[in-house]
């Protein structure tokens, strides 16, 4: 197992290196010029050229790339081309907010998705199952930008029972922080919960038809014990996998959710950086997202092995 983890970590490092290198080189091939973001579009080409020189963007791409890789290896992501602030400082503030959003929505999705999935399986083809299936179908088929905008307009603008937009630091106002977190987290959780619910339902139904469940019932065990102690545990294995896969999808979903709710996480930072062609910021964020994604996959695989005694990695 140890050797497996080491091997996977090495593979992950190579993968992240490749993604980062690919981005670092190809991002500069995008048309656009950060000098005009800094100077405005009325600037003369001469002044823009002077700014590019000052920023070191006039050097060949491979020199810039080597320079960047060298700095990153020393833990230095450099400064934003536009704001001249250290990227690491900005990331240190923004990344936890995005992770918080993902974790909060994940918890919400699990807390809602698994019990509803169990109910649906338990009352297969009866009214509760049909109701839950309709809800999950709505959840899966509603795009995040639609559900997010609807929530915002209904709860934030029409009824004004929740803050529509923005962010409050948890140290400044813990309750306000949670209020601001609620709608973005629910928006992200809707999609996730629907997927978890469907997976729980189908997996549980499959397990409930297994021989050992029939045996348990034949022994005279009650439905609750059969369901929760015998069937659910085994049914949860694919659910855990899907949660792991979904965590990666959520990372993508935050781009839209953060944009709609003005949540100052890493995704809004990335969007602004792409619009402004702030190359080092884009590179740093891609590097971090790639690392997170690869690690998440690794952790999911390991959890899978841990939860299912039949699986081992050698």
């Amino acid at each position: 197992m140890g050797a497996y983890i080491v091997r996977r970590l090495i593979q992950s490092a190579v993968l992240v290196f490749l993604v980062a290198s690919f981005m670092a080189i190809f991002i500069q091939l995008l048309p656009g010029d950060p000098a005009y973001t800094i100077l405005g579009d009325k600037a003369s080409p001469e002044r823009a050229a002077a700014v590019r020189k000052q920023l070191g963007l006039d050097r060949p791409i491979y020199v810039q790339y080597a320079d960047w890789i060298g700095n990153v290896a020393r833990g230095n992501f450099g400064n934003s081309l536009i704001s001249d602030r250290p990227i690491l400082n900005d990331l240190a503030k923004r990344l936890p907010r995005t992770i918080e959003l993902i974790v909060a929505s994940m918890i919400l999705a699990i807390v809602v998705g698994i019990p509803l999935g169990v109910i649906a399986a338990n009352y297969r083809n009866q009214m509760p199952d049909i109701l839950v299936s309709i809800i999950s179908l709505l959840g899966v088929s509603t795009p995040v930008f639609v559900s997010g905008t609807l929530l915002l307009l209904v709860f934030g603008v029409r009824w004004q029972i929740l803050p529509a937009t923005g962010y409050v630091s948890i140290t400044e106002n813990p309750l306000g922080h949670l209020e601001h977190l609620l709608m973005p987290a629910v928006t992200l959780a809707l999609l996730e919960a629907a997927v978890i619910l469907r997976m729980t339902r189908s997996s549980l139904l499959e397990v409930l038809s297994e021989d050992y469940v029939r045996t348990a019932r034949a022994k005279g065990l009650g439905q609750r014990i059969v369901l929760y102690q015998h069937a659910l545990r085994n049914a949860l294995i694919p659910v855990v996998t899907i949660i792991g896969i979904q965590a990666g999808t959520l990372l993508g979903g935050t781009v839209i959710v953060e944009y709609i709710f003005n949540w100052p996480g890493v995704s809004t930072y990335l969007l602004a950086a792409i619009n402004q062609r702030d190359y080092p910021v884009i590179q740093a964020i891609i590097l971090i997202i790639a690392t997170l994604f690869v690690l998440l996959n690794l952790v999911t695989d390991l959890v899978y092995a841990a939860i299912d005694p039949r699986i081992k990695y050698g």
Partner: protein
């Protein structure tokens, strides 16, 4: 993930991984808890970022200064003493002092340097913190700011500014040396200041005494005061600069509000300057600026009460804000204009007759409807508007929407519309640019022209147009200041970014130079009229429409005024007189 799928389960092997399922569960819970704690710690760390020491604000008593005098633009008057009140009126009797205003910015300010313009959002913050020698006020006039008055010598080569007695936010007294240091910084090519070209005629700034700054010019510059009143000519502290201070990192001026903190992407906080030189002002204790990149979210924040003022209201939302019981929509007519710019280095636009013909091809009313929901005015003549002293009614209906005439003129120019292939460049990032492009494309297709519309993201579009890599393109822009000297920015053959590939006309260059150096307003008017007429004739661009722009506010916001026309985004000049009515 591929690993999970490719490894086949091996049912009978003993488990090598020695964790029980229960411990995995526990580990999961611990991980969730750790994430929350991590985010909590990060939040703790961030709250003190960038903060400077700020004294607690107290609601200062006293009445507002009421030194009212007539304000004038100063342009053209050979030895005028344009004086006037920087501040508008006496304090309204019902003013409620104190409180916090929340302002929705249209983006996170890209920089903090007052001498480099990076758009409306950054300006809104800088205006609250810095003063200029003069500033634009509510009727579009230039009013005194840090200079109480200025005298211009008859030859237009010496400007003498009399300065107010005040201090910077760090307590350093403001003197003429600060004016000198600020102008020299704007002139320094290393800084890359937005108005550096306009400061070129200034050969020296001397401080004849701490309250008097004297500018010497190499040649007259009729629009100098108009330029000095722009936010990008902010006065910064000499002591701060000499001490190695970087204005892009620390905002420190003499303005009504002083910088408290900035959390990138979250907010910028400024607090009342108790020692502000216009007595009794500002009324507010604090302004929190919140960046909203997404215009729909910005409008939702205003409607929900998350913010008190939102800038850059999208045209599609203007009606609903206007009709709301809780909100005010404050707009100005004609702040910016839309036009098509031709690349005269490429066929067929190297031929003035073709460009001229297309002046009749576009249905400007449809553009106003499609792009601005009816909130705009079509342009059929020149850029100098009726409210300017330089306006010439002769040009008013130079162009019209007349497809038949366009076709006929194209044929006369030796072009067959049915065999013409054109590519129009615009951006899909801003709705009004895209809609304008779509209407123009349709109008050309109606003439039988095969017109393709290329929509790029904004950064790509800017790169392409600055490099001349286009055939013709949609542009939306605004004059920098009301003086018609702004035409230089569009029409001059060398110093122009807007039309670098569109025009090089020596006659226009010569007239622009003459007009800039002319001190007699009547003669200047004549020159600008000639320039506009020639521009209409040789048509380096086709002017389409002016658009309205403005702000939305909660009804509790009092005293906020929108400056007319192109000065609209200097409306934060009135922040010092803003107060919040108890709702």
């Amino acid at each position: 993930m591929s690993e999970t799928q490719s490894q086949s389960p091996q049912p009978v092997e003993p488990r090598r991984f020695a964790m029980s399922r229960r411990s995995v569960l526990r580990l999961g819970i611990a991980a969730v808890a750790a994430t929350s704690v991590g985010s909590l710690m990060a939040a703790c760390g961030s709250s003190s970022d960038n903060s400077t020491s700020a004294s607690t604000a107290s609601s200062g008593g006293g009445s507002a200064s009421t030194a009212a005098a007539s304000a004038s633009s100063g342009s053209g008057s050979a030895s005028g003493t344009p004086s006037g009140s920087g501040s508008s009126t006496s304090e309204p009797s019902n003013v409620v002092k104190g409180g916090e205003l929340k302002w929705a910015l249209s983006s996170d300010p890209p920089n903090q340097d007052p001498h480099i313009s990076t758009g409306t959002a950054a300006r809104a913050v800088k205006i609250a913190i810095y003063n200029r020698l003069a500033r634009y006020w509510t009727k579009g006039e230039v009013a005194p700011d840090l200079a109480t008055k200025w005298d211009i010598s008859t030859d237009g080569l010496t400007y003498t500014f009399t300065l107010v007695d005040t201090t910077f936010h760090d307590g350093t007294p403001f003197t003429a040396d600060d004016v000198k240091a600020s102008i020299e910084r704007i002139q320094d090519p290393k800084v890359g200041a937005t108005q550096s070209d306009q400061m070129k005629p200034i050969t020296s700034v001397t401080a004849s005494d701490p309250r008097t700054a004297v500018f010497k010019l190499s040649k007259p510059a009729a629009a100098l005061i108009s330029v000095l009143a722009l936010p990008e000519c902010a006065i910064v502290s000499k002591k701060f600069l000499d001490g190695g201070g970087d204005p892009n990192k620390t905002m420190m001026g003499t303005g009504p509000f002083k910088f408290v903190s900035r959390e990138p992407g979250v907010n910028v906080v400024v607090q009342k300057n108790d020692k502000f030189f216009r007595e009794g002002m500002p009324y507010l204790d604090k302004i929190t600026y919140l960046p909203y990149q997404n215009e729909d979210t910005r409008v939702a924040a205003l409607k929900s009460g998350d913010v008190d003022i939102a800038e850059y209201i999208p045209w599609k939302d203007m009606d609903s804000i206007d009709k709301s019981n809780d909100l005010n929509l404050i707009t100005t007519k004609g702040s910016s204009f839309m036009l098509l710019i031709y690349n005269t280095k490429q066929k067929p636009f190297d031929d003035a007759k073709v460009r001229h013909a297309l002046g009749y091809a576009f249905d400007r009313d449809s553009i106003v409807q499609a792009a601005f929901f009816g909130r705009g005015e079509i342009i059929t003549g020149g850029l100098i508007t009726e409210d300017s002293w330089a306006y010439d009614a002769k040009l008013k209906d130079y162009y019209s929407y007349d497809p038949d005439k366009a076709k006929q003129l194209l044929t006369e120019a030796g072009q067959d519309p049915k065999s013409m292939k054109l590519t129009l460049m615009s951006t899909g990032q801003y709705g009004m640019h895209q809609s304008t492009g779509e209407v123009c494309q349709k109008n050309l297709q109606d003439l039988g022209i095969d017109c393709k519309l290329d929509l790029f993201d904004w950064a790509t579009e800017v790169k392409k147009h600055t490099e001349g890599d286009y055939q013709f393109r949609v542009q939306g822009t605004s004059p920098d200041f009301p003086d018609p000297d702004y035409l230089t920015t569009f029409l001059y053959s060398t110093a122009v970014s807007q039309s670098r590939d569109s025009l090089s006309d020596q006659q226009i260059d010569q007239w622009l130079d003459e007009a800039r150096q002319e001190t007699d307003q009547a003669k200047r008017k004549e020159l600008y009229n000639q320039i506009e007429e020639r521009a209409a004739e040789i048509a380096p661009y086709t002017l389409l429409c002016w658009r309205d722009d403005g702000y939305g506010t909660r009804k509790t916001v009092q005293g906020f005024e929108v400056l007319p026309r192109m000065n609209v985004f200097q409306s934060p000049n009135t922040l010092e007189q803003v107060w919040l009515k108890k709702s």
